[in-house]
């Protein structure tokens, strides 16, 4: 019984990381209508920034906050320099840009920091004060951080005028301009937020999977499965989907298919969703008038 509880809780812990990445994917999807393939590599790059800061002797939490701010800025700059010229261009242009960014960030990480695997520190060493033996300190800590962050993002979108304007700009840019919303700034803000979400996710997963330029490959696949499962155009759905995939991955890995086939599970989820309910559990089907 304790084994099942352990698998469940550690599934929720990694689920929070998938949920964060899934939310980042959905946020970009809502403004560009494409999946940002580079989301994972951008997050890895952020983790390397944190690694550099911590190696230089910066205290963990200061490095953590600094990395979030730098990643936010980087995301906004990418929107400004690369995505803005794509507006009004054919769909393939954005897809090309995303693939370009993926290769760029992957190579940049490898070029600056090398391809050998590095250990990444966690501030949650040892066993937690409660639930010891069922969850590790890092699992509990990373669950709390990702959950708090998702809650903050939710409150930002639901309770603040800026969050409302961001949603409006994503849904309907033209009408947003007519109520005076500076739409391009909102898009930059959205990219910044997505990059910041990714940075946190990467810093939380790095102590588990170890730091290397391809670290987020598997995570992205699970996050994508979660986003699709919940609904690629539903932020709330994507978060739920991310948690669900985390739990399924852990339980199936322990009792059903074994660790080797866990990643296949993500692909199986993606295929099943696309066949049975392409709009996901909470998403809306999009119909286009032709």
């Amino acid at each position: 019984m304790q084994g099942v509880a352990h698998q469940l809780l550690s599934g929720i812990a990694t689920g929070g990381i998938y949920a964060s990445m899934a939310l980042a994917l959905v946020m970009i999807y809502q403004t560009t209508h494409h999946v940002n393939f580079a989301q994972g590599e951008m997050a890895t790059f952020s983790a390397y920034i944190a690694y550099t800061l911590i190696s230089a002797g910066v205290p963990y939490w200061l490095a953590f906050i600094t990395t979030i701010l730098v990643s936010f800025f980087l995301g906004a700059v990418i929107e400004r320099l690369i995505m803005r010229p794509m507006a009004g261009k054919p769909a393939l242009a954005s897809v090309g840009a995303f693939i370009g960014l993926l290769l760029l960030f992957n190579s940049l990480s490898g070029w600056i920091w090398g391809y050998e695997i590095k250990a990444f520190p966690t501030p949650f060493d040892g066993s937690p004060p409660f639930l010891a033996g069922v969850v590790s300190g890092h699992e509990l800590g990373s669950f709390c951080i990702s959950f708090a962050m998702l809650l903050l993002v939710y409150l930002f979108f639901r309770r603040t005028t800026l969050g409302l304007a961001l949603r409006a700009a994503a849904h309907n840019p033209l009408s947003s301009r007519l109520v005076g919303i500076r739409v391009q700034r909102m898009f930059a803000l959205g990219w910044g937020l997505a990059a910041a979400l990714g940075a946190v996710a990467a810093m939380l997963i790095a102590p588990v999977v170890f730091l290397d330029p391809n670290m987020m490959g598997g995570v992205m696949l699970y996050a994508f499965a979660g986003a699709l499962l919940g609904g690629i155009n539903s932020p709330f759905g994507a978060v739920l989907g991310g948690y669900a995939v985390g739990i399924m991955e852990n339980l199936a890995g322990a009792y059903l298919v074994g660790t080797e086939l866990k990643l296949t599970l993500a692909l199986a989820i993606i295929i099943c969703v696309l066949i049975i309910k392409p709009s996901g559990l909470l998403g809306r089907a999009i119909t286009t008038r032709v």
Binding site: T161, L164, A165, R167, A168, H171, N172, L174, S175, S176, R177, L178, V179, G180, I181, R182, V183
Partner: protein, 236 residues
Amino acid sequence: MPPLLETKDLRAGYGDLWVLHGVDLAVRPGGFTTLLGANGAGKTTMLRAICGMVRTSGEIVFAGERIDGRATEEIVRRGMAHVPDGRGTFLELTVEENLRLGAYTRRDRGVRPDIARMLEYFPKLQPRLRQQAGTLSGGEQQMLALARALLLRPVLLLLDEPSFGLAPLITREIFQIIGSINKRENVTVLVVEQNANLALSIADHAYLLETGRIVMEAPAAEIRRNEAIRRSYLGY
């Protein structure tokens, strides 16, 4: 008094194609001006041109300042509200969120009382505040669009065919509300309309647009009285 809005030799169009071929138009402050014309005359393009939503050449002066070539959101921030073709409703958001977005540029404390006042103008919206705007009927959506536009506290209100897709009875109600907003809220109105009879009964000045050119300009009452003009240009 100088006009609130003035265009000089305004051309506007899409891609390589000009739709407006040099339009001179002036809107008197406080007035209710209507721009009439058949389908495809360029009425919608005219409103889009004023708001910087299409390519233009020529001059547009609003409240004493050139606004041509500026970004739509910056023009809106100077006090110009525009209910566009298709009403511009945020269909996925709730009615209340739509109203809050109308007041997005305002930082004053009057927003809440203003929303309450809009609900007095449009009592049908009150029970629907938490509902998705996409679920409203056409008439309700038009009311929401008007309320949203007014929450900007605009100096000038541009309306693109408020009658579109609505039953005649509702259309009349909407126009009466627009008329009373014009007087009570001191908002200058420029409305584009196909239903010439209705627009002329409420407007005080009218322009007639034909294939991208102004063919006539006169006080609304005069056009209503002149049967020859009505017959040849307005078809009623």
